[in-house]
Symmetry: C2
Subunit: 174 residues, 2 copies
DNA sequence: AGCCTATGATTATGCGGCTAACCTTTTGGG
DNA sequence: CCCAAAAGGTTAGCCGCATAATCATAGGCT
């Protein structure tokens, strides 16, 4: 791919990520929520009580993220976490009454977010934009699915000897 | 806007943000970089030495973010920060030799990121996707510019009565 | 039964990003 | 000339999100 096009694509995605999140923050703040938290509430609303693992995959993030976010939302009184009676490992999370009461306003904020996001489009019909974004989202999800099984290989208890860890081949860590 | 469409739009943007970042992390890790850091290096490469403030607006994030990221990149030896001789307040940041040496590999990773992002598109021509994403990015940038100067006034606020500090009207903070 | 693995969740740690508050240096009036 | 306002950065604190390591329970297999 042309490096110029690549740069355009990556930069556009970065801008969209940051600005959409900022807009979400502004619209969710009156409801006492941070961006990302609303997704958990929506998933619980649409699918009913969920295991934290289910909530993780439903919301597209990793289990530790759910642990922390669910804890905060529980402290805020918006959801309840209970131990499963069937399996002592799993914790089931569900909306609380306060959480449920928040949903209409949340739905409204969610709609405003989308409206304001596309309000200044110059050349793109919103319907086509949604289709293209969904297509891109699927493409990225597929890329992830293809890359993931390679690294998540046969986890035997015996630690695999990887040789000498390359000192320059990992992200900076301070 | 139709709530269904709004949900599709917001969810797609969320998925794109998370997955694109994850893919970037995977491609940048061999170079010792985290997603977001490459942007600073590219900007310095394309525009020459910059003030941290200029770097902030060029990279689309806030000054405190630059302070921390630039510090880490300096610690990694990829860039240099020097006090401006003209103005004791400003610090000028520029690529180091090591940072410059990293650019070709960075350019390659950046291109791979874009290629892999669009590799599984089903119905969307990549050129159109780039155009639409750029349009959306501009729209969101414009929304930000519009919301920033005015203090959220013009809308009629029916839900919350301004006057008593509502204990639930700010993001959850623990 | 006994062990070994798989699974669900949590802890620890780190990064990018943000806002609010603060410090320092410049600058612009009176 | 001096002092107040503006401008550039940093600090402190928080959140979402991630990976790696750990803990605890469930399940399978001999």
């Amino acid at each position: 791919m042309d490096p110029r096009q690549a740069e355009l694509l990556n930069s556009a995605i970065r801008t969209i990520s940051i600005r959409h999140r900022a807009l979400a923050a502004a619209l969710l703040a009156p409801l006492g929520l941070h961006p990302g938290q609303e997704v958990l509430l929506f998933e619980l609303h649409n699918r009913g009580p969920l295991t934290q693992g289910q909530l993780a995959s439903a919301s597209g993030c990793e289990p530790p993220t759910i642990t922390n976010s669910a804890r905060r939302l529980e402290a805020a009184g918006l959801l309840v976490r209970t131990e499963s009676p069937d399996d002592a490992r799993v914790t089931i999370v569900d909306l609380s009454d306060r959480g449920r009461a928040l949903l209409p306003a949340l739905q409204q904020a969610w709609t405003q977010l989308a409206e304001q996001s596309v309000a200044r489009l110059l050349t793109t019909p919103p319907e086509r934009l949604v289709e293209d974004l969904s297509d891109l989202a699927s493409s990225l999800e597929a890329a992830r699915a293809r890359c993931s099984p390679c690294s998540t290989r046969s986890r035997s208890r015996e630690p695999v000897d990887e040789g000498v860890p390359d000192p320059g081949s990992a992200p900076i860590r301070q």
